[in-house]
Symmetry: D2
Subunit: 185 residues, 4 copies
């Protein structure tokens, strides 16, 4: 069983809604177990349990909210170097397009890489002019079909990589599965 | 006279269109002279001439096109450290939202900072859920009112900073001018 | 009088020491007033007072410490868009070379840009193979001549840009001053 | 057999020397085959062949050299989305500490992520105050014991992740192997 942790901080509820869609996408991949955890409830057991972390937070000043950073900064020393080789990805919502979501995702990926996670974006286009190359991003809450699809695809890809890398299910590789990958047009 | 160089590489014409809007925005500020130059025509004289560079390129693989990087990498050694203190900003168009425009702008700002330019984004929202905090970004060509406004505002801000910093026109400071700065709502 | 705010968070004292050197460098530029403030003591009056912010924090997981982010995230709404056009730069200390100092500086610059500050790095080499292109960086506390010089040069450049841009002292432009700019060799 | 491609551009020979050390590190992991290729010789067959790409280039203006970007920008369209799920990492050499190596590595990771690769840094410290959290970095050519060790460790980690993820060799996981991971002290 692949184990996906969707870990997030949400003030307004937008990031929580994104996280629920990420979780739903992950659950579509056979043999995947998912935990959705706010940082208020998550602990290091959740990190130890999972094969991969989908990390989400609002875009605050072009980077993650301090509460989310505090959660990571406050982990006990012995956690560091215990997470090597888990999978990682990111999602974020900002006040507007051009407002820093990609930069906030990048910062989350940097934190995950620092902990030894192997991180990814998604090549697929989920609709016309909408992709998630460095994580799922949007302005406000997930509302449009494309926005919802980008969250789901992120979770799905996470579950697929875990299936392929951890459980040896090469049949679940995105290329092997052969579903529509989309294009920018 | 404030001197703005809009410097770009464009394959499809989208970035050129963005650049023309950036130039139009700069020209709205009294006492501003603007040059719009493709890298095919620009040379180091243009760099020496200007007080600020608005740099634009498509988002290719999450960063600037190799042609644009080549232009900068190929400048003679003596140009480096001759541009200190000029202003800099960036604009980029990608195949889709979430496709890396903010990261491409960031890379352009990094190149400009390496040359000693002081770089900026824009706090203003130019419409509902549309801003340009790290440069003007969009998917495809500038089409919507918001997209066009974000290019114009970038150029305008460039010209304003030059007026304020280089020509001592404190009356042209964005805060002094008091126009609507917008919000994400 | 140019006004420089050196704003930092420091747990171990390393970043504080860097900040003191940054302040000393700024004070070398004629007509510069400097405040050195830990985030424990700094408030929005300090931000309103200054012409530029040199922002420093340890490199924690490749980005700034949560305490420093909290300080920025917790500013009242009305501060945002009141700082446009002030100068900004960054400094950081990590546990080791290759440990993320440049990325932490980049994140700090992103936060400053979000607030409308115009940000800069420094082209100068302060010694053999030691520069500060995106902020002053080091492993541990400032110990070597190069490390101390990089902090000082950062503060000096901040004060110079303020003198040039805010006070119209074009004679204090780094190029006009003509001091050794160094090279990588 | 795990297959590692060390792909680089080198003008001065420094990056080539780094690449040779990366390759040597990869070869230390049982069952690993390594190709070391300059972009002058590499082609898309090399990309198709490998399980992971260690990408290296000098730090030019805080990002990768235009020649390296050109190589990636010029790949035929059908390569894109054919590399999903391969491993990726980066290495870079700059003219000086603080000169942008981490930013150049970050840009290389962004390009690799755009192509669907899962990318990683290394948590290990390879000596006092020397690590490679976002790729192997250095000023000039690999000269000191730490610098050489950081290149080797990068290649070793790449080969380990391939062994674990692609070939199911869980005994080769860094944590299972139990060698010294080092600390910053």
């Amino acid at each position: 069983m692949g184990k996906v942790l969707v870990l997030f901080h949400s003030n307004t509820g937008n990031t929580r809604k994104m996280g629920e869609q990420v979780a739903a996408g992950a659950a579509e991949v056979p043999g995947t177990e998912v935990r959705v955890r706010s940082i208020d409830d998550a602990n290091r057991e959740d990190l130890a349990w999972c094969d991969g972390v989908a990390l989400g937070g609002a875009t605050n000043l072009g980077s993650m909210p301090w509460q989310l950073k505090k959660w990571w900064d406050s982990l006990p020393d012995e956690v560091w170097q215990s997470l090597d080789g888990k999978l990682g990805c990111a999602f974020s919502s900002s006040g507007g397009w051009g407002g820093g979501t990609e930069l906030a995702c990048l910062e989350m990926l940097i934190v995950l890489m620092n902990h030894g996670l192997v991180v990814f974006g998604v090549t697929d286009y989920v609709g016309k002019k909408h992709t998630l190359h460095y994580g799922a991003v949007q302005a406000g809450e997930p509302r449009t079909e494309n926005e919802i699809a980008s969250c789901r695809r992120l979770g799905q890809r996470m579950a697929e990589w875990i299936a392929v890398f951890v459980d040896g299910r090469k049949d679940l590789h995105p290329i092997a599965r052969g579903y529509p990958r989309g294009s920018q047009h």
